[in-house]
C-alpha cells in the first residue's frame, strides 16, 4: 500500500477572531479575509473551569478545536485515540521557563514545567474527556501538519478506529519573534475514520512522494512551510469539499499529496 484513504466526520477551527468551524468554513470556502481579534480566547468549555483558568493558551486552543471536531462527528472523545501536532510547541511557556532559568533557576514554577511538555494538550484533553485510548503529541517543524495528519491516518487504519487529529501553534513572543515563523495562534482539528460512514463529509487520499527539484508539488508546497498557511490550505480544500489536490511539505525532500474526494 502506498496511499491511505481516510474519511472526515468532524472538523474544528479556532483562530483569534474566528471562534469555530461554522465561522471559519464560509471564509475558507470563499477565500475571504479572516477577522482578527488579538484579545480573543477560545472557549475550551470541554475543560473544567479550574483547569481552564490555569491552562496555557496552547492547551485551550488544542482542546477547543478537538472538542468541536468530536461534537460534529458525534463521537465520544473518551474512546478516540488522539494525535496532537504542533510545529513549535507552547512558545509562551518555553519563553517563561527559559527566562526564569536565565534569571534564577531555583524559581522555576512546577506548573510552568509540567505545562512545558509537548504533550500538555494531550494530557489535559485525556484527563478532561476521561480518554484512556492512546494519545500522541508530535512535531515535524514546517512539515508538522503533513506529519501529524499522516500519523493520524496510519493509526485509523492500523487499528480500524476513528482517530482525533488536532493541529495548533501559538504566536511567537519575545526573542522567538523573527527566528520562529509563527505570526499568529491557530488550531484546527479533524475526526478521521478508515471506513466511510453516514457522517463522512469529505474524504482524503494521502500519499508521500519524493519532491523533485522542478516538480509542481514542490512549487505548490513551498509556500506552505509556515504551519498556519499549510493548515489554511488544507482546511480551505475541506471547506470547499470539491475534488482536488493539496500538496504539503512532509520532509526535507518529500511532499504529502492529499487528494480531496468530495
Amino acid at each position: 500500500m502506498d496511499s491511505l484513504l481516510v474519511h472526515v466526520e468532524g472538523l474544528g477551527w479556532w483562530s483569534p477572531g474566528v471562534a469555530d468551524w461554522n465561522a471559519a468554513a464560509p471564509l475558507l470556502r470563499d477565500d475571504a479575509a479572516f477577522p482578527f481579534d488579538a484579545n480573543a480566547r477560545p472557549a475550551a468549555s470541554v475543560l473544567p473551569s479550574n483547569e481552564r483558568r490555569r491552562a496555557p493558551e496552547a492547551v485551550l486552543i488544542a482542546c477547543d478545536v478537538a472538542a468541536q471536531a468530536c461534537a460534529m462527528a458525534a463521537r465520544d472523545p473518551a474512546s478516540l485515540p488522539c494525535v496532537f501536532v504542533s510545529a513549535h510547541g507552547d512558545l509562551p511557556t518555553t519563553d517563561s521557563l527559559c527566562a526564569t532559568l536565565a534569571a534564577d533557576p531555583l524559581q522555576v514554577s512546577p506548573t510552568k514545567f509540567h505545562n512545558s511538555v509537548h504533550n500538555a494538550p494531550a494530557g489535559y484533553w485525556t484527563v478532561a474527556t476521561h480518554c484512556h485510548a492512546a494519545s500522541s503529541a508530535v512535531s515535524g517543524w514546517h512539515t508538522s501538519l503533513a506529519a501529524g495528519l499522516f500519523e493520524a491516518a496510519v493509526q485509523a487504519h492500523a487499528d480500524a478506529t476513528p482517530v482525533l487529529f488536532a493541529a495548533y501553534d501559538i504566536a511567537a513572543i519575545g526573542p522567538f519573534i523573527g527566528t520562529v515563523a509563527a505570526p499568529s495562534a491557530f488550531g484546527a482539528a479533524l475526526v478521521l475514520t478508515a471506513e466511510r460512514s453516514a457522517r463522512t463529509c469529505v474524504s482524503l487520499r494521502l500519499r508521500h512522494a519524493p519532491t523533485l527539484p522542478d516538480s509542481a508539488a514542490r512549487a505548490d508546497a513551498a509556500p506552505r512551510r509556515e504551519p498556519l498557511l499549510a493548515t489554511h490550505a488544507l482546511f480551505a480544500a475541506l471547506a470547499r469539499a470539491k475534488d482536488g489536490e493539496v500538496h504539503l511539505p512532509s520532509g526535507a525532500s518529500s511532499t504529502l499529496i492529499i487528494e480531496v474526494c468530495a
Partner: protein, 398 residues
C-alpha cells in the same frame, strides 16, 4: 482489543548513555551491576543531585555540513548514531529499500531546548544573539530534522514528544507504518540531553533525589536525571537470532498531568493491548524492564501492578539506577538494555536499593540473576499520563 500482529525484526540497535558508548559498554555495566550516576556538575547554579552524563559532548561539534543543527542534543544523537555500526546499517537499509521506503521516527522530550536556554543567557536587547537566530534550534522537531539531514531518508519523518514515553512509542509508530505497507523499514531513535529545564523543573516538582536514585527502595527520594541516545532499525525479517518486536500497547491515564493513576489503570490497559498484539499472557513473560523512576508514586503504583498481574517467575527490575531517568530517550535506551539482557541471559538487578518497598512483590530483582529470557517487556510511563509498553522476543533460530 487490538488484533495480533506479526513480529518485526530489530536488525540493528545501539545505545549511548552514562554507562558508555555502545552495546559492549552497556552489557558490561549490566553484568557488573555498575552504575553510571555521579554528582551534578552540569548546572552552574548548584543543585545537589546525581546525574547520568555522557562525557565529551562539549567538544564533539557536529561535522561542518550539519553545523546548523549543532547543539548538545544533536551532538548526542550523532555520537549515538555512529556507534555499533548503526549509521551504516541504517544507510544500507536506505540503499536497499530506497530512501522513500524508509521512515524516520524519533522520540524526545526536551530535544534541543538546551540551546534555547543558552540563547536566553545572552539576549541582546531582548533578541537572540545572531548564532541563535536559527529556527532549527528552537523546534521540538530539531532532532528529526538533524537525523533526516544526516541519513537522507525521504519517507515519513516525525518527532514524537510525549515526555517519558516518547521513544517507546516510536516502536509502535514504526510497526504500524511497516504493517500497512507504507514503508519497508523504520529507523527509530530516542535522544534526550541534560538541560536546565528538566533538572530545575523536576526539582520544582520535588521529584529529584539528592543522592543517586534508589528505584523500589522503601526510602527512595526521587529520580536522577540522565541523558542518552538510542537507535533501532525495524524491518519485516532479519537473520536468525535477530531479536523481535512482538507487540506494544499505548494508553492514557486520564488522571493527572504529573501523577500516575493510583491503581495504574493506564499501565494495565497498555499491558493488555501489548499482550493482545503479541499473542501472549503474563505467565509467558520472563523479564520486565520497569519504568521504575524511583519517585514515591511511580514505584508504588508500578510495583503493585506487577505484583497483581505477573507470576513470581517473572523477573522485573529498573535500570534507572544505572543510567538515571533519560526521559524522552528512556523508552529506547531501556529497550536496548532489555535486548542485551535477553541476549546475555542476564536479569539486571535494581541498583542502590537496600530495603524493598512493601509494595514490591517477589518479581522485583534487586541483584543480578543469570537466567534465560525468552520474552521480555519494557515499561514507559510519562507526564500527562502517557503510557507505552513493549514486548520483545527472540528470532526463530534462538
Amino acid at each position: 482489543m487490538p488484533s495480533r500482529i506479526a513480529p518485526l525484526a530489530i536488525t540493528a540497535y545501539t545505545a549511548t548513555s552514562a554507562l558508555g558508548r555502545g552495546r559492549a559498554d552497556h552489557a558490561e555495566a549490566l553484568r557488573l551491576a555498575r552504575g553510571g550516576l555521579r554528582s551534578n556538575t552540569f548546572t552552574s547554579t548548584p543543585l545537589v543531585c546525581a546525574i547520568g552524563r555522557v562525557d565529551g559532548l562539549e567538544t564533539a561539534a557536529l561535522p561542518r555540513a550539519f553545523a546548523a543543527y549543532d547543539c548538545r542534543n544533536n551532538r548526542l544523537a550523532w555520537l549515538g548514531l555512529e556507534t555499533d555500526g548503526f549509521g551504516e546499517a541504517a544507510r544500507a537499509a536506505i540503499e536497499r529499500y530506497g530512501a522513500d521506503r524508509v521512515a524516520l521516527v524519533v522520540g524526545t522530550s526536551t530535544g534541543s531546548i538546551g540551546a534555547t536556554e543558552e540563547a536566553y543567557l545572552g539576549l541582546e536587547d531582548g533578541r537572540f544573539a545572531p548564532p541563535f537566530r536559527n529556527p532549527f534550534l528552537h523546534t521540538p522537531h530539531s532532532l528529526g530534522l538533524f537525523l533526516e539531514a544526516a541519513l537522507g531518508t525521504r519517507g515519513p519523518c516525525l518527532t514524537i514528544a510525549t515526555a517519558c514515553s516518547s521513544s517507546a512509542k516510536v516502536f509502535a509508530q514504526g510497526e504500524r507504518l511497516i504493517r500497512l505497507g507504507l514503508v519497508d523499514a523504520a529507523i527509530l531513535a530516542g535522544v534526550d540531553s541534560l538541560c536546565g529545564s528538566v533538572l530545575f523543573g523536576f526539582n520544582a516538582l520535588e521529584l529529584v533525589a539528592p543522592e543517586p536514585c534508589r528505584p523500589f527502595d522503601a526510602a527512595r527520594r526521587g529520580i536522577s536525571i540522565g541523558e542518552a541516545a538510542g537507535f533501532a532499525l525495524l524491518e519485516r525479517v532479519g537473520a536468525a537470532e535477530t531479536p523481535q518486536l512482538l507487540g506494544y500497547g499505548e494508553s492514557s491515564d486520564a488522571y493527572h498531568m504529573s501523577t500516575p493513576h493510583p491503581q495504574g489503570l493506564g499501565a494495565r490497559l497498555a499491558l493488555a493491548d501489548t499482550f493482545a498484539r503479541a499473542g501472549l499472557a503474563p505467565r509467558d513473560v520472563d523479564y520486565i524492564n520497569l519504568h521504575g523512576t524511583a519517585t514515591i508514586k511511580n514505584d508504588e503504583v508500578e510495583a503493585a501492578v506487577v505484583a497483581d498481574l505477573f507470576p513470581s517467575t517473572t523477573r522485573a527490575s529498573s535500570t534507572k539506577g544505572h543510567t538515571g531517568h533519560t526521559l524522552g530517550a528512556a523508552g529506547i535506551l531501556e529497550a536496548v538494555l532489555t535486548l542485551l539482557a535477553m541476549r546475555d541471559d542476564c536479569v539486571p538487578g535494581t541498583l542502590n536499593g537496600a530495603t524493598p518497598d512493601p509494595a514490591c512483590g517477589p518479581q522485583i530483582a534487586f541483584a543480578n540473576e543469570e537466567r534465560a529470557i525468552g520474552v521480555a517487556l519494557s515499561h514507559s510511563f510519562g507526564f500527562g499520563g502517557n503510557n507505552c509498553t513493549l514486548a520483545f522476543g527472540h528470532g526463530a533460530a534462538h
